[in-house]
Amino acid sequence: MNIKALLKALRLRKFATGLLLLQLSLTIGLMVNTVILTNSAIEKLNSPFGFDVQQLISVDLLPTSGAYRDTDYYQSIIKQDIAKITAMDGVISAAYYNQLPIQNGGWNGNMQAADFPEDQVLPRELQGVPQFYSSTIGLDNLGVEIIEGRALTNADDITTDFYTPGKRGEIEQNIILTESLAKAVFPNKSAIGELTNNGRVVGIARDFVISPNSKGDAKYYAMFGNFLYSQSDFEQHYLIRVEPGKVAQVQAKLSDTILSVQAERDILRVRSMDEHLKKFYSQDSGLASLFAMLSLLMILVTIVSSFAHAHFHVTQQRKFIGIRRALGARKKDIMLYVFSENWILTLGASLLGIATMIGLNIALSQVISIDKPTVLLYALAVFVVFAAGTIATWFPAYKTTKISPVIATKTL
């Protein structure tokens, strides 16, 4: 194989070669970044959440009648709902929540030790700690264990005091913190028994993912209290823990069960935790899909142009190929000649591709968060371009074997 001759032939068509090089290198760059985006979307969905995603169904609902402004009435309906849901076939347990894990925004507040100095600024991640209110089984229902101290009891329920005029200001509730939060608020000692601005810590729960978009340990920060929030303007949430494999069966009957207790409610959503997660990440996975589509199209364009490049090369060189054949080149020598031109191009493009890959990654990181490229992904993209180019070159290369050596003797 005469590499020098090949390079010379490519240099003679420098514009076309240059275009193809640019094109292939951009394809590599885009492909790598696509895979990065897709990977991180998949990773987010598949990373462990620390609670029983597979067995949970969530219901979001709003009362539609003014009668629910009476909190006693509202609470009695909620309790009836929970009792009726718990009695359903396949349901292990059910509880009400003021909000659900895996969300943006929500019910958040400062979390600090009661003796936190007034002139100090609270770290940003402790300024918006999610506050969860549920019944005694709230954490258990999620599948999250208490690792220190105790769980919440009926005696910790502040609902009655909260809705008794005048008493709201005097409440000092008992709360549970997640492990990471407890460490952040009380860095040098056990949090059990300590007083915070939100109440006294009686237990610490194992970490689980609550705010996936927060950075570092802040995604595990949460506080739990025993309280039935019953203001009819805001969405009420039920989480139902079902026996393995019964999600669909229970999910189908939930709306009717709830409405049979009292019909004046708007059931906004009934979905499995799985669906909830997919929905939460739909923007990420949507973007990844768009990029994936683009990469696929780019590979198609690569195939088209590799094909055309080789095809025109072969057409142009018909006579010389004929002469080569006449001088004793075998069919496979000629095929190899056509292929190696494509391979040299791919090689050049893969070098240029490093620059486009990094450049595009930097450009993308200006607008969205994206991980850095890795050598493995780069190698993968080069391989795909190599394979696509080779496949596309196959047909024109095959056609060269049909060129008869007789052509050589037909002078101009």
Binding site: L19, L26, V121, L122, S282, L294, H309, L360
Partner: protein, 429 residues
């Protein structure tokens, strides 16, 4: 003109003769332009001016009145009830409105059915209507601050009353009656500039417009952002307390008016500071609609990221088309040489190339529109949030055709120059 027809005929013949070649070339180019166009369609409607005739006269008012303890935090657009009332209390602006968003369930009080309809409420002041140019079909705004009167949007009017003049009819909300005093025509506002924060930017316009005092009296919940530094027991309890939930907009016709308003709000925060409130170093801010939308980053960053990628892809498609055409022209050198030998000027050869690129461009344009539509549908499927923001209008179609023509011409340019430059004596041997 005769030459034009001749070239058109030649180009057509050429396209038919090299069918496979041109199908590949035009399709790849059209895919590239199509993806690009779909992306532009999305970004264009995201960055549309919702109220073009006076977007430079409507200003968001962001006050430096947050009493939180973080000095680094950014200025936020929500304010307290008292701040909002102070802004309403001046005649500097042509129109002033403050609002918060709520949601209720409602039904026709006369109706036998107990079914209630979910309705998004804009708790606001009468200035809302002239400021946003909300189009009234019937009736008008309320006159009294605490009136149990409301204006309803067209879609709620259709849902509850089946349309028509519903002024004088009564809606029941939480068991209480509210009289309808105005009905709006169908009204589209994209983006919803008066409430672009917190995921509301591409929502439809509201169902119920109610006096802000009435909404608070009736404890209609603040259902988007509500922050407080005091313990606040109910919606009406916000009066006089540090609960932040109201947004304010003013219409200012000229620089004098704007200066006066700036001075007015600066005096206000200074006054609050003198009264002992802890304020950060931020400035009070008046941003017009365009600046405001930009500040709130209405254009989805994901779409910008994709725009970057799709323009690279377009470049790839142009490179591809160009290198294909180069090969094409290379093989057509003989014919070009012959034409030159029998007396065609370089101009003639170039003209012929331009006609051909226009024909290619037109084929490409047709395909582009098809692909563009297709990719838009795909984008919407992948991003349901885009549903509201993807309009195909005439300008977009023209834009698509324009881009297709231009890219075809660009792809053709270098190959054409090359073919014009080929020395004559070598090609005919």
């Amino acid at each position: 003109m005769e030459m034009f027809n001749y070239y058109l005929k030649l180009s057509y013949r050429n396209l038919i003769r090299n069918r496979l070649f041109f199908i590949l070339m035009i399709t790849t180019l059209a895919v590239g332009v199509g993806v690009f166009l779909a992306n532009i369609a999305i970004i264009k409607s995201m960055s549309a001016d919702p109220i073009p005739n006076k977007s430079d006269k409507i200003f968001n008012v962001s006050l430096n009145i947050w009493t939180g303890n973080n000095p680094r935090a950014e200025l936020i657009e929500i304010m307290r009830y008292d701040d909002a009332m102070h802004i309403l209390k001046n005649d500097i602006a042509t129109h002033t409105m403050v609002h918060y968003q709520s949601q209720v369930y409602t039904r026709d009080i006369e109706s036998k059915s107990l079914t209630r309809h979910q309705a998004v409420v804009r708790a606001t002041t009468p200035g809302f209507f002239p400021l946003t140019e909300a189009p009234f079909a019937y009736g008008s705004a309320w006159q009294q601050d605490h009136a149990k009167q409301i204006v309803i949007g067209d879609s709620l009017n259709q849902q509850v009353f089946g349309g028509g003049n519903s002024v004088g009819k009564v809606l029941e909300i939480d068991g209480k009656p509210f009289e309808i005093v105005g009905v709006l025509k169908p009204w589209e506002l994209k983006p919803l500039f008066y409430h672009v924060a917190y995921g509301q930017k591409f929502k439809a316009t509201d169902d119920i417009y109610a006096p802000i005092e009435t909404a608070m009296d009736n404890e209609w919940a603040i259902n988007v952002r509500n922050s407080s530094t005091d313990r606040i027991n109910s919606v009406s309890d916000n009066r006089g307390k540090n609960g932040y939930f109201i947004q304010a907009f003013v219409q200012l016709e000229n620089q004098q008016q704007k200066n006066a308003m700036q001075e007015y709000i600066d005096n206000y925060s200074q006054h609050r500071q003198e009264q002992g409130e802890y304020l950060r170093d931020n400035d009070n801010r008046l941003l017009d609609v365009k600046q405001w939308l930009e500040h709130k980053e209405v254009v989805d960053e994901r779409m910008l990221a994709f725009a970057l990628a799709s323009s690279l892809f377009l470049a790839v498609c142009i490179f591809n088309a160009s290198s294909l055409l180069l090969a094409r022209y290379h093989s057509a050198r003989f014919e070009t040489g012959l034409r030159r030998a029998v007396g065609a000027r370089i101009k003639d050869v170039f003209y012929q190339g331009v006609v051909e690129s226009m024909l290619i461009g037109l084929c490409c344009a047709v395909l582009t529109l098809i692909f563009g539509w297709l990719f838009l549908q795909i984008s919407i499927t992948l991003f349901p949030a885009l549903q509201q923001t993807s309009d195909i209008d005439l300008t977009l179609i023209l834009l698509g055709i324009g881009i297709a023509l231009v890219t075809s011409f660009i792809s053709m340019l270098y190959p054409l120059i090359r073919s014009c430059r080929t020395p004559l004596s070598t090609t005919l041997k």
